[in-house]
């Protein structure tokens, strides 16, 4: 049963990626003017460069053949050439991907530790902790990353001077220092959402009848919470955490721009501004793949955590 579920999800993943890659490729043709104009971003290129483009994109072949060449190239790590930087897109991506991966990983850790922690805490005890958490998360859930960014820079970089405001830093400690404010800005609204959903899940599960059965059998509170409340709440908590972590991949462009970080997201935005389509396509493909893979992992975890799942997709 689990095998079938896995196969189904994998097939869905491949279909999603295929559709996404198709949309990304078709962007070439959706652009006003011809594909060459789209690829050159409207710049006039020397004839030799145009010839290279035409050959690289097989622009004289039928549409689907072009797509196939492009896709198989992408699968082999060949994502084309940046018009503005005249460099391989893959090389450009490789040099920037670690900043982005580090930022998303850092923010994810914050979400898991503080989001889930806060949610469990306020879910288990009523009173001041709970009310405070509810109020705090209601507001922070509505703080967009770039607003969080300016506030964090103002307070912790400009006023207190604890963290650097902008840039990447060097070395592990330097990186960590430079990534701390961006990670907090990236995490904050997701963290609040995870905390709220966690709290609700813990409340719901605490009130289940089977918890009462366990109480009636004299299971000590500590074990009761671990085995029956948290174990069952782990299912919705994992789902929401995974979904929000996946969404960080898209939000990352905003945070990198706000903190002038040299990562994939900021580069994507620059490329979009300068209409460097090959770069936009390449980075979009990488980010969409990451997004889909994280979502798949969520589905698999869900299936592992909930024995009732056999087929179908995750519960909403």
């Amino acid at each position: 049963m689990l095998g079938r579920f896995l196969a189904r999800r994998l097939a869905m993943l491949l279909a999603s990626l295929l559709v996404a890659s198709f949309v990304i490729f078709a962007a070439l043709y959706a652009a006003p003017g011809n594909p060459v104009a789209a690829l050159s971003g409207g710049r006039s290129l020397p004839a030799a460069s145009l010839a290279v483009l035409e050959q690289r994109y097989h622009l004289n072949d039928p549409f689907f053949v072009q797509y196939w060449y492009w896709l198989s190239g992408a699968l082999h790590g060949n994502l084309g050439i940046s018009i503005t930087l005249r460099e391989n897109v893959s090389t450009l991506i490789a040099s920037r991907i670690w900043t982005t991966a580090g930022l998303v990983a850092y923010a994810s850790v914050l979400i898991v530790i503080f989001g889930i922690g806060l949610g469990v805490l306020s879910g288990l005890r009523r009173g001041l902790v709970d009310t405070g958490t509810l109020l705090l998360t209601a507001i922070s859930a509505a703080i967009p990353g770039f607003v969080a960014a300016i506030v964090l820079i103002l307070v912790f970089a400009v006023d207190l001077g604890w963290f650097p405001a902008l840039g990447n830093g060097t070395g592990f400690v330097g990186n960590l220092q430079h990534l701390t404010l961006p990670a907090v800005a990236l995490a904050i609204s997701s963290l609040a959402i995870v905390a709220r959903v966690t709290r609700a899940a813990v409340r719901t599960e605490s009130g289940r009848e089977h918890v009462q059965t366990a109480v009636s059998r004299g299971i000590p509170a500590r074990l009761l919470i671990r085995r029956h409340v948290l174990r069952n709440a782990a299912i919705p908590i994992t789902t929401i955490t995974g979904i929000t972590i996946a969404s960080l991949i898209a939000l990352d462009a905003v945070i990198e721009t706000a903190f002038s970080l040299n990562g994939l997201g900021a580069y994507l935005v620059q490329a979009a501004e300068s209409k460097d389509l090959a770069v936009v396509q390449g980075i979009s493909l990488v980010l969409v793949t990451a997004f889909v893979v994280v979502n798949l992992i969520v589905d698999l975890l869900y299936a592992v955590l909930d024995p009732r799942v056999t087929l179908g997709s995750r519960a909403q």
Binding site: F146, V147, A253, T257, V280
Partner: protein
């Protein structure tokens, strides 16, 4: 059982009727949120008229000047009146998300109702198609659209609407399926009422509370995402005022010790989004009862 029955008994309130009744049922927090939304919408419609000064006229000698008489929030980096820019900026900041929500809700509801009505193969095709479309996060699609069609609010709004549609359809499909199974639908079919007639006059109206709750929550997301895109320079273009644009163009002020212009725009976004989130959550809670 006794306690549950007791509480259930005590908890029975007459369900809200009409828009006002439903609003009242959301409690004081819901009402306060609705108030904030009404004010923001008013600013969106009449902000340019209300603005005491020109939102675009620059005067570099007034750059970063703080609040003074007649200029409650001072001036931005180019010497423009911040309050006037905030008021005028409400238009794109509010109407942009509104367009996204209307587009996404319409498309999503249409897909959901068609899937629920036809069931079988049509439902399977639509549902799995939606699952696959889930692969595109809104902001990413908007950036792609900007790269292709050029920066601007329209492309960004359409891209976001496309990205939100599968989500809406998924939420509404469940409700539509449930409604489809109600006995009254079969009764109307037997009487020979046409499918579009039943859907438009009965199915969709009965799903309206859910649609409104979903639209309310979604407005908050759309506002954040659109402001983010404008912040990135891919949405509303300066010098046009927009809250996202204002944060981007006044970011330098933060490091130079003039945080007010950027903060003011940020606070506007957060307050409106909190209002939509709180009201949306309350409306959902009302739907679930």
């Amino acid at each position: 059982m006794g306690a549950a029955a007791l509480i259930a008994d005590a908890d029975v309130r007459p369900p809200g009727t009409g828009v006002l009744g439903r609003l009242r049922a959301t409690g004081p927090a819901g009402l306060a949120s609705a108030g904030v939304i009404v004010i923001a919408m008013f600013a969106a419609l009449f902000g340019s008229l209300l603005a005491p000064y020109s939102p675009v006229l620059t005067n570099l000698s007034l750059a970063w000047v703080g609040p003074v008489g007649g200029h409650l929030l001072g001036f931005d980096g180019q010497g423009r009146d911040v309050l006037s820019r905030l008021l005028a900026g409400a238009t794109t900041s509010m109407l942009g998300p509104l367009a996204v929500v209307i587009l996404a809700m319409t498309a999503g509801a249409l897909l959901a109702v068609v899937a629920a009505w036809r069931r079988g193969a049509a439902d399977a095709v639509i549902s799995s198609g939606l699952d696959i479309l889930f692969a595109f996060p809104g902001i990413l699609l908007a950036v792609l659209a900007a790269a292709v069609f050029g920066a601007g609010l329209l492309a960004a709004a359409i891209a976001l609407a496309v990205a939100y549609t599968p989500y809406v359809a998924r939420v509404l499909r469940g409700a539509a399926l449930k409604e489809r199974g109600q006995p009254y639908v079969a009764a109307l079919e037997v009487q020979g009422v046409s499918a579009p007639g039943i859907c438009l006059r009965h199915l969709v109206p009965n799903m309206l509370p859910l649609i409104i709750a979903q639209a309310t929550i979604m407005f908050g997301w759309a506002m954040v995402d659109l402001a983010a895109i404008s912040f990135l320079g891919l949405g509303v273009q300066p010098p046009n005022p927009d809250w996202g644009v204002m944060i981007a163009e006044n970011q330098t002020g933060i490091q130079q010790g003039y945080p007010l212009p950027a903060l003011a725009a940020g606070i506007c976004i957060v307050v409106v989004v909190v209002a939509f989130n709180v009201l949306g959550e309350r409306l959902f809670a009302e739907v679930d009862r």
